[in-house]
């Protein structure tokens, strides 16, 4: 039988976690539409806490669209409609009582291109804690900024220039500044949308080391075009194709012994 593009592939591998305790985010039958066009088809998957989940797949497969559903970034796109259920700690994030701004404090995001605010290094990190009222006084704010920069592996490089503009840093440093900014509001989850695609190999290696450190305290989802990066940094990998979630499993299984032919073809570079 010839499958049409509209066929829905049933996700194989281990999309749902056997251990309920480990589930940080749970997605069930998620469909995303841009106007009439369906970009995500019936995706059900669990995201485990305190580990790195990588989303991989060819351009246009829906991995970034799906990532953006997880902190309601798609709300800002008028034609975009999300169906299905996504929960954070078992609470529906699309419930009408959920404030997207507060949700995004719990689920932070780091983008493809480093996008520091046109402010000082200090102010870039202090901005979030200040608007969310996380610091009672200046010394508490200082502490949050320093701790966040330390956790992002940037403090030692910028400690003498906290009043310099964030945009004056190198690309890799700017991205680590954005990570410091994301973690300054003490999120539980960090979404990363191709965080290294604008960086050179050395800066990429630093961010990858950082991601590995951060997973001790945060749940991380990373969208990446680099399969090698997914293999290096993640514990679980999800492969998307034409809006379908084809296969999810332990990263080792996906890269050594994937079950689906599409996954096999993609990771071996024969497709996509």
């Amino acid at each position: 039988m010839v499958r049409s593009r509209d066929d829905i592939v049933r996700t194989i591998g281990k999309p749902l976690l056997a251990d309920d305790e480990r589930v940080k985010i749970s997605c069930r039958n998620v469909n995303v539409y841009y106007g009439e066009k369906r970009a995500i088809r019936e995706v059900s998957v669990d995201i485990a806490e305190q580990e790195v989940t990588a989303f991989i797949g060819p351009s246009g497969c829906g991995k970034s669209t799906f990532l953006r559903c997880i902190n309601r970034m798609n709300d800002t796109i008028k034609s975009c409609r999300v169906e299905g259920e996504i929960t954070l700690d078992r609470e529906d994030i699309y419930d009408r009582n959920v404030d997207p701004v507060l949700l995004r404090a719990r689920i932070g995001m780091v983008f493809q291109k480093p996008n520091p605010f046109p402010k000082s290094i200090f102010e870039n990190v202090a901005y979030g804690p200040r608007i969310h009222g996380l610091a009672r006084n200046k010394s508490e704010l200082d502490e949050i900024v320093i701790t966040s920069l330390e956790k992002a592996g940037l403090f030692s490089e910028v400690k003498d220039q906290l009043d310099h503009p964030g945009t004056g840093l190198s690309g890799g440093q700017q991205q680590r500044l954005c990570i410091a900014r994301a973690i300054s509001v003490q999120p539980e989850v960090i979404l990363m949308d191709e965080p290294c695609s604008a960086l050179d190999p050395i800066a990429t290696a630093k961010i990858e080391e950082l991601i590995d450190e951060l997973r001790r305290n945060f749940t991380i989802i990373i969208v990446t075009h680099s399969m090698q990066q997914a293999a290096r940094v993640s514990q679980r990998t999800a492969f998307f194709h034409l809006g379908n979630l084809v296969e999810v499993d332990d990263t080792n299984t996906i890269f050594v012994n994937p079950e689906h032919k599409l996954t096999q073809d993609y990771i071996t570079g024969r497709y996509g």
Binding site: A205, E208, E209, D212, A231, R232, V233, N252, V256
Partner: protein, 220 residues
């Protein structure tokens, strides 16, 4: 994020533990023959699965590192070398089991003659296995090449054993069954020497990036 040094240390430790088991298996198998101890032979056969388990574990760890860490340069050579070493060590373990099996059969019959050259071969190949793994861990090419040179003495002893037993068989055909089994044991020990030599050759590759297999010693 490439292969971490603790991951390489862990790989070395797995190989060291496996090699220690293999070395003990050779020693015990020959002891079970020379001292006619069936229980020692049984233990070698019974515990071979531990060596096999290391073989699988090391292979899986190497595949994981290759797939997930994309090792380059010396790390790449080390991991591919480890995969070859584990195959040779596993085969040495099988050879020790074969010796133990022949020992159990020979122990049911009267002793043909006291063993002289077989224990000697056993000591040499145990030393070769130990040194070749030390050479791997310490990246010691000199020691690896020394192991390769020692293989000739094992081959010579194998030939001596074979000639001695041929003579005994010709003089008294009733000894044939026992004599043939002892030539097997000698051959197994000779094979162990070959596996140790293979390992030593891969150690040279790991350290120097130079393939010396199928070369004569003066070409190394």
């Amino acid at each position: 994020m490439t292969v971490r040094s603790e991951e390489l240390t862990n790989l070395n430790e797995l190989l060291l533990k496996m090699a220690a088991l293999v070395e003990a298996a050779i020693k015990s198998s020959v002891e079970s023959l020379v001292a006619r101890k069936a229980n020692v032979a049984e233990k070698v056969i019974r515990e071979d699965h531990q060596i096999n388990a290391f073989d699988v574990a090391i292979d899986e760890e190497c595949i994981r590192l290759l797939a997930l860490k994309q090792p380059m340069g010396k790390d790449l050579r080390l991991i591919t070398t480890a995969m070859k070493i584990t195959t040779d060590l596993e085969r040495i373990g099988d050879n020790a089991v074969n010796i133990a099996e022949r020992a159990m059969e020979l122990n049911l019959e009267p002793e043909l003659k006291p063993y002289v050259d077989i224990p000697r071969m056993s000591r040499i190949v145990q030393g070769m296995v130990r040194d070749t793994i030390d050479a791997f861990v310490n990246e010691d090419v000199t020691l690896a090449k020394d192991v390769i040179m020692r293989d000739d003495s094992v081959d010579d002893l194998n030939e001596t054993v074979w000639k001695d037993l041929m003579l005994i068989m010709t003089q008294d055909p009733s000894t044939t069954s026992r004599a043939v089994k002892i030539t097997y044991v000698s051959k197994y020990l000779e094979r162990i020497g070959d596996h140790a030599t293979n390992i030593a050759e891969t150690v040279v590759y790991m350290v120097e990036g130079k393939i010396i297999r199928h070369m004569l010693p003066d070409q190394f």
